[in-house]
C-alpha cells in the first residue's frame, strides 16, 4: 500500500517536473500578453543543449544553465517577432516549433559524429539528488523525496514565479502589460521591455524543462525525447488558468495519471487493460476534468495581441 503510494507520488514528481518548468514559461510569457505556442521547440533545444553541454563539461549546473540560455536565445527570436514586429504570435510560435528541433538535430550532427543522439552523461555528472541515501532505498520517503535537484527547483520556481507575479513591482507591471498594455504605456511602463523580458524568460524556463528531462530523467538527448511535452505544458498552463500554481497542479495531474498508467499496467495488477487503452488515461482524464471545471478560464486580456504605439 505505502509502497504503491510512494511509487505513484515519485513517478508523478518525475513526470511533472519538465512540464512544470515549461508551463511556468508559458505562464510568464502569456501574463505579459505574448502567446507562446513555441514551448515545444524551446524545450527541444533545452533538452539537447543540456545533454550536450553536460556531456562535454561534465558539470550539470553549467549544462542546465546553458540549456536555459540556449532556449532563451531561441525565445529571443519569438520576442523580436512578437514584440518588435507585431507578428502574429501563434504563427511565430509555430515557426519556433520547426526551428527548435531543426537546429537541435542539425547541431547535434555537427558535435556528435553525425548522430542525432547525444552520448550519455555518467551518473555522477548528472543532476545531483540532494537527499540520496538519507532514507533506506525504496522506502516510502525515499521514493517520494529522493529526487533530482531539478524536481525541487521546479517547485521552488513555482513559488518564485508566483511571488514575482503577484508580490513584486515587476510582476504588477507584467500583469498590467498583459491586461492593458496601453494603460501601462501611459503610465510610463515600457511594454516592449517587459514583453521581451518575459518571452526570453519563458524560453529559459522551457529550456530548463527540456534539460530536466535530458539531465535528470534520463542522461542523453534523442530526437524523440521531447515528443509533445511542450504542448502538454501549454495545455497545463491554460488548464491552470494562466497562474503558476494552477499550472503546477495541472502538471501534477498529468504526472499522477501517468503514474497510474504504469501502476495499473504493472505485472500482477488485478485487472489487465490493454496497454493502448491505459495510455489514453492522462489525456482522457484531463478532458473529463476540464469539463467539470467550474468557472471558465480567461486569458490575460491582451494575450495574443501585438502592442503597437500608434507610430513607430
Amino acid at each position: 500500500m505505502w509502497s504503491s503510494l510512494g511509487f505513484i507520488i515519485g513517478t508523478t514528481l518525475m513526470y511533472s517536473t519538465p512540464l512544470i518548468y515549461t508551463a511556468l514559461g508559458g505562464v510568464i510569457s502569456e501574463n505579459s500578453g505574448v502567446v507562446n505556442i513555441g514551448l515545444e521547440g524551446m524545450m527541444t533545444i533545452g533538452a539537447f543543449v543540456g545533454a550536450a553541454v553536460g556531456f562535454y563539461t561534465g558539470n550539470p549546473w553549467i549544462a542546465f544553465l546553458a540549456a536555459g540560455l540556449a532556449s532563451g536565445f531561441l525565445a529571443l527570436f519569438h520576442a523580436i517577432a512578437a514584440v518588435s514586429f507585431g507578428a502574429d504570435q501563434v504563427v511565430s510560435g509555430i515557426a519556433i516549433n520547426f526551428l527548435g528541433p531543426g537546429i537541435a538535430l542539425f547541431v547535434s550532427r555537427l558535435f556528435f559524429e553525425g548522430a542525432t543522439n547525444t552520448k550519455p552523461i555518467p551518473l555522477e555528472n548528472k543532476m545531483p539528488r540532494p537527499l540520496n541515501g538519507l532514507f533506506p532505498q525504496n522506502s516510502f520517503f525515499d521514493m517520494i523525496l529522493n529526487q533530482y535537484a531539478t524536481v525541487f527547483m521546479a517547485f521552488a520556481l513555482v513559488a518564485i514565479v508566483w511571488y514575482l507575479l503577484y508580490k513584486t513591482k515587476l510582476g504588477l507591471r507584467i500583469r498590467a502589460v498583459g491586461e492593458h498594455p496601453r494603460a501601462a504605456d501611459t503610465l510610463g511602463v515600457s511594454v516592449y521591455k517587459i514583453r521581451y523580458l518575459c518571452v526570453v524568460l519563458s524560453g529559459v524556463f522551457a529550456g530548463f524543462g527540456g534539460a530536466s528531462l535530458s539531465l535528470a530523467v534520463v542522461s542523453n538527448f534523442r530526437p524523440t525525447l521531447i515528443s509533445g511535452h511542450g504542448f502538454i505544458a501549454l495545455a497545463a498552463m491554460i488548464f491552470g488558468k494562466w497562474k503558476p500554481q494552477g499550472a503546477m497542479w495541472a502538471c501534477l495531474l498529468f504526472g499522477v495519471s501517468n503514474g497510474l498508467v504504469v501502476y495499473l499496467g504493472r505485472p500482477g495488477a488485478p485487472f489487465q487493460i490493454s496497454q493502448q487503452l491505459l495510455s489514453m488515461i492522462p489525456y482522457v482524464l484531463t478532458l473529463i476534468i476540464l469539463t467539470g471545471f467550474v468557472g471558465r478560464a480567461s486569458a490575460p486580456a491582451a494575450s495574443g495581441t501585438p502592442y503597437e504605439k500608434d507610430e513607430r
Binding site: 513591482k169 504588477l172 500583469r175 491586461e179 492593458h180 494603460a183 504605456d185 501611459t186 503610465l187 510610463g188
Partner: protein, 512 residues
C-alpha cells in the same frame, strides 16, 4: 476665479500632426494659464484627442513647439509628461480591470521595500491619503470591474494626482457619467483649480463648458477656430463655431397619442455576470407610437434588462410578452423574428463585426433571408445594392460598402447600426445609449431617427444615462433603480430634480 494670468503653464505653438497624408492637427495654438479650466471643443474627429496625446507624449508632433511653464520641452513619451506635471485621463479609460483601485493608481510608481517587493500597505495608505486630500472617495481595495464608471473615472484622476500632476487633461470625462456624477466631477474640478491645478477639458457638451470652463478653444477639422472666454459666449455661438453652421438642440416632434399595448414585462428577474440579481422584479408596459425613456444611474440593471429583452441573457423569472405572446427566454433569433430591433449599448462589441465590411454588417440579422440569400447561398449583388442604398440614405461616410466597419469612425459605425435596425421595420426598437460619444450633428441624426420610428407608430424604448436626452426625446420616462422601475412620469411634466431624486433611490412609487 483662481486664474493666474501671469503664468502660462501650457503653450502649444503651431502644432501640426499628420497621420500619413491626413492632417489631424493643422497649425494649432493653445495657451493655458495656471488655475484655469480650459475647454477644448470640436466635432468628432476634429483633432482634440490628438492634440492632447501630443501634449502627453503619446504622439510626436510633425511640427510645432511646446512650452511648459515657459520652458520649451520635448515630450518624447508619457514619462516626460508625467515628470513635467502633466496628467491625462483618457477618453477610453486606461484601467487594468482585474487590478484593484490602488494597484491601478500606483502602477509605474510603485512603493517598494527591499528589492522590488511591492509594498501594498503603503500603496493603500497613499491612495487613501490623496483621495482624502482631493475629496475623491474611492475604496483602494475594490477591483476595477466591480466599481461604477464614475468611480473608475475618479481612479483615473487619482492616477494623475498620485503622480503629482499640476496640469490635468480630461478627455471627454462626462460622456459616461450620470447627471449626479457630472455635478460631482465639476465640483471636483473646482476643488482642484482652487488648489492651483490647471485643467484642460475636452467635451462635446456645451452645457458643461458653460458650467465648468473659463476659456474654450474651438477646433474644427484640425484647425484652430478661436479661443473665447466662456462667460461671454452663448451656447449657440459655441455650437455654430464648432460645426460651422447653425444647429438646433430641440428635438422636433409632434404631439401624438400612443397606440395599443405592444410590449409588456412582468416581474422580470435577471442575474448579472457575477450571478447576482441585477434586475429584481421589473415590470413595464410599452405602447405603440411612443418613446419610452428609461432613466437611471449606470449599473442599476439597465444592461441586463436589455440583454434579457433581446434574448442575450437568461431570464430567471417573470415574463416578457409581445402582443400578449410570451417570448421569455426565446433565442435572439426568435426575438428578431418577432420584429424587435435593438441598438446595442456597446456598438463595437455587440453591434458590429468590425472585420466585416459595411455591407456584411448591414445584413447581420437578415443574412439568411431573401433577397440576401437563397438556399444557403449568399446573393452578393443584392447585399451590395442594399448596402449602397442604406449608405446613401443614412449618409454613412465614407460611402463605400466594401470597407471594413473597423475603419469607420464611431459616429459612422453607429449610423450603420441604426440603418440596419431601422430598415428591418421593427415593431419595437430598443435603443441603448445610442448617442454615447457622438457629436451634436450625429446626435441630432440619431434622435431624428428615433422620433421617425415613433411617428411610424412603432414602440421605442430609449435607455440612456443622459437625463437631458431622455427628457428631450421621450414621451414617457420610467426611472430604473436597483433593478426595478421606481416611477413613470410623462416627459412633459418631468423635471430634472425629481427625476434625479428618483434615480438616486428617493423616488415615489406612483405610476405616471
Amino acid at each position: 476665479m483662481n486664474i493666474d494670468f501671469s503664468s502660462k503653464v501650457v503653450e502649444m505653438k503651431n502644432i501640426t500632426k499628420k497621420f500619413g497624408d491626413f492632417v489631424a492637427n493643422d497649425n494649432i495654438n493653445l495657451t493655458v494659464h495656471k488655475g484655469e479650466v480650459h475647454a477644448l471643443l470640436g466635432e468628432n474627429g476634429a483633432g482634440k484627442s490628438t492634440l492632447m496625446n501630443i501634449l502627453y507624449g503619446l504622439y510626436q508632433p510633425t511640427a510645432g513647439e511646446i512650452f511648459i511653464n515657459g520652458n520649451k520641452v520635448d515630450i518624447t513619451d508619457p514619462n516626460v509628461a508625467i515628470k513635467k506635471g502633466i496628467g491625462m485621463v483618457h477618453q477610453h479609460f486606461m484601467l487594468v480591470e482585474p487590478f484593484t483601485v490602488a494597484e491601478n493608481i500606483i502602477l509605474g510608481m510603485e512603493p517598494t521595500q527591499g528589492i522590488g517587493a511591492l509594498d501594498m500597505k503603503k500603496a493603500v495608505q497613499d491612495v487613501e491619503e490623496i483621495s482624502k486630500m482631493y475629496g475623491l472617495h474611492v475604496n483602494p481595495n475594490d477591483k476595477i470591474y466591480d466599481i461604477t464608471v464614475g468611480m473608475q473615472q475618479r481612479v483615473e484622476i487619482l492616477k494623475a494626482l498620485y503622480r503629482g500632476a499640476e496640469i490635468l487633461i480630461l478627455d471627454e470625462p462626462t460622456a459616461v457619467l450620470t447627471p449626479q456624477e457630472i455635478k460631482e466631477l465639476i465640483q471636483i474640478m473646482r476643488n482642484l483649480t482652487q488648489q492651483g491645478k490647471t485643467i484642460i477639458l475636452i467635451t462635446h457638451k456645451l452645457k458643461e463648458i458653460k458650467e465648468a470652463a473659463d476659456f474654450c478653444t474651438i477646433i474644427r477639422r484640425g484647425k484652430h477656430i478661436d479661443t473665447v472666454e466662456v462667460q461671454n459666449t452663448s451656447t449657440a455661438d459655441l455650437a455654430s463655431m464648432m460645426v460651422g453652421r447653425e444647429v438646433s438642440f430641440k428635438v422636433e416632434k409632434e404631439e401624438k397619442e400612443h397606440g395599443e399595448l405592444v410590449l409588456s414585462i412582468e416581474d422580470l428577474v435577471v442575474k448579472d455576470n457575477r450571478n447576482i440579481d441585477a434586475v429584481k422584479g421589473l415590470s413595464l408596459d410599452v405602447y405603440a407610437g411612443e418613446i419610452l425613456g428609461i432613466a437611471g444611474v449606470d449599473g442599476n440593471g439597465q444592461s441586463e434588462f436589455i440583454e434579457a429583452l433581446t434574448g442575450l441573457r437568461r431570464v430567471e423569472s417573470g415574463k416578457i410578452k409581445i402582443h400578449g405572446k410570451d417570448i421569455t427566454n426565446n433565442t435572439p433569433k426568435e426575438i428578431i423574428e418577432e420584429r424587435i430591433a435593438s441598438i446595442p449599448e456597446d456598438r463595437q462589441k455587440r453591434g458590429l463585426v468590425l472585420d466585416y465590411t459595411i455591407a456584411e454588417n448591414m445584413i447581420l440579422e437578415n443574412y439568411n433571408k431573401p433577397p440576401f440569400a437563397k438556399k444557403g447561398i449568399l446573393n452578393q449583388q443584392a447585399i451590395k445594392d442594399f448596402a449602397r442604398k442604406l449608405i446613401e440614405k443614412f449618409d454613412v461616410r465614407p460611402d463605400n460598402q466594401l470597407i471594413k466597419a473597423r475603419s469607420l469612425s464611431g459616429g459612422n459605425q453607429q449610423k450603420v447600426i441604426i440603418a440596419r435596425e431601422v430598415t428591418n421595420d421593427p415593431e419595437i426598437l430598443i435603443a441603448a445609449q445610442p448617442t454615447r460619444g457622438l457629436d451634436v450633428g450625429a446626435i441630432e441624426f440619431v434622435h431624428k431617427s428615433l422620433v421617425e420610428q415613433r411617428d411610424k407608430n412603432k414602440a421605442v424604448v430609449l435607455v440612456s444615462l443622459e437625463l437631458d436626452e431622455v427628457m428631450n426625446v421621450s414621451d414617457r420616462i420610467a426611472v430604473i433603480y436597483e433593478g426595478k422601475i421606481v416611477g413613470i412620469v410623462n416627459a412633459k411634466e418631468a423635471d430634472e430634480n425629481t427625476l434625479g431624486l428618483m434615480m438616486a433611490g428617493g423616488g415615489t412609487e406612483n405610476e405616471g
